[in-house]
Chain length 145, copies 2
DNA sequence: TTATAAAAGGATATTAATATCTTTTTATAA
DNA sequence: TTATAAAAAGATATTAATATCCTTTTATAA
């Protein structure tokens, strides 16, 4: 499971993308409201994302968050990596200090399939692809109730 | 990813099983040492497991931990359920308040495959099967280094 | 130039997970 | 019966994740 912070980050980025497509640059307040996350905490997460250049920001009047040229096809992996590191992609599912094909834990063979499956999703899914499925109406950004 | 507590629990149970097969009932100290977990914390985890009847225990001289009749084929699911609940099996991977096939988040279709894959492992793998693969020498309980 | 709007930064608070320590209960061996 | 070994229980400590609040910097509009 991803951490709450990572989930907030992903949803925030998706919302920024959706607004950017409407030529808008949402601010912290709007983003937090739309993704249903605490405002001050969302601000911290957006800070982390901009500090790591996953997202652009503009201070002052008319400011807000937006994607720049080279930020258009961020993968989930990029976001997870910045928010919580990539332990989830290489950790041993049984809790051993490392995962090793040649000296496996009893869960290794089966666990690796799942872990690699998630890695594949993370590496191929992009913020813009997720956003687009929402834009098209095929998926939702939040629950009505 | 499972919590550290859950990992300790699984490894502890596997070690108890291995020792039980040798007609021994290990105590907290031996278990903690073998699974490389803090002793007092391991004691707490064993308490949770015995309280929930996943494991038997005997107090006093010659006491220790062991599996009873109906505890022989514990699944990973049973352990995870007791240690951290089963959110990981039904939670939305995108962080929505619930996962819903008919009103999916943009990650749903792909995420559910991975999540269900893990559920399948958890429901089918048992402590005794894991232990047996160690007994046979096909897998290890811990890293030498 | 000044007031205002916005993000950035820093400090602090709260909660949950991990970890340790001490006392109590229970069983057994001497 | 007493000393000892062991788990159970309870209290406390530490660390990391989540969350809030206040101040500073920056940009823009009036
Ligand atoms: S060694 Fe445990 S998952 Fe690979
Ligand atoms: S709705 Fe998000 S994983 Fe199902």
């Amino acid at each position: 499971m991803l951490s709450k912070s990572t989930e907030y980050a992903i949803r925030a980025l998706v919302f920024v993308q959706l607004r950017n497509w409407e030529q808008k640059r949402p601010g912290v307040d709007e983003i937090a409201r739309e993704i249903e996350a605490p405002e001050a905490y969302t601000a911290k997460i957006l800070q982390i994302l901009t500090k790591h250049k996953l997202l652009g920001s503009a201070k002052g009047r008319g400011g807000g968050f937006f994607f720049g040229e080279n930020q258009s096809s961020l993968t989930l992996y990029d976001v997870i990596h910045v928010m919580e590191g990539d332990a989830c992609f290489h950790k041993c599912g049984f809790g051993l200090k490392s995962c090793n094909d040649n000296n496996p834990c009893p869960l290794h063979d089966k666990y690796v399939v799942v872990r690699d499956g998630f890695f594949e999703i993370a590496k191929t899914e992009t913020i813009s692809a997720l956003s687009d499925s929402i834009r098209r109406g095929d998926a939702v950004l939040n629950r009505i109730v």
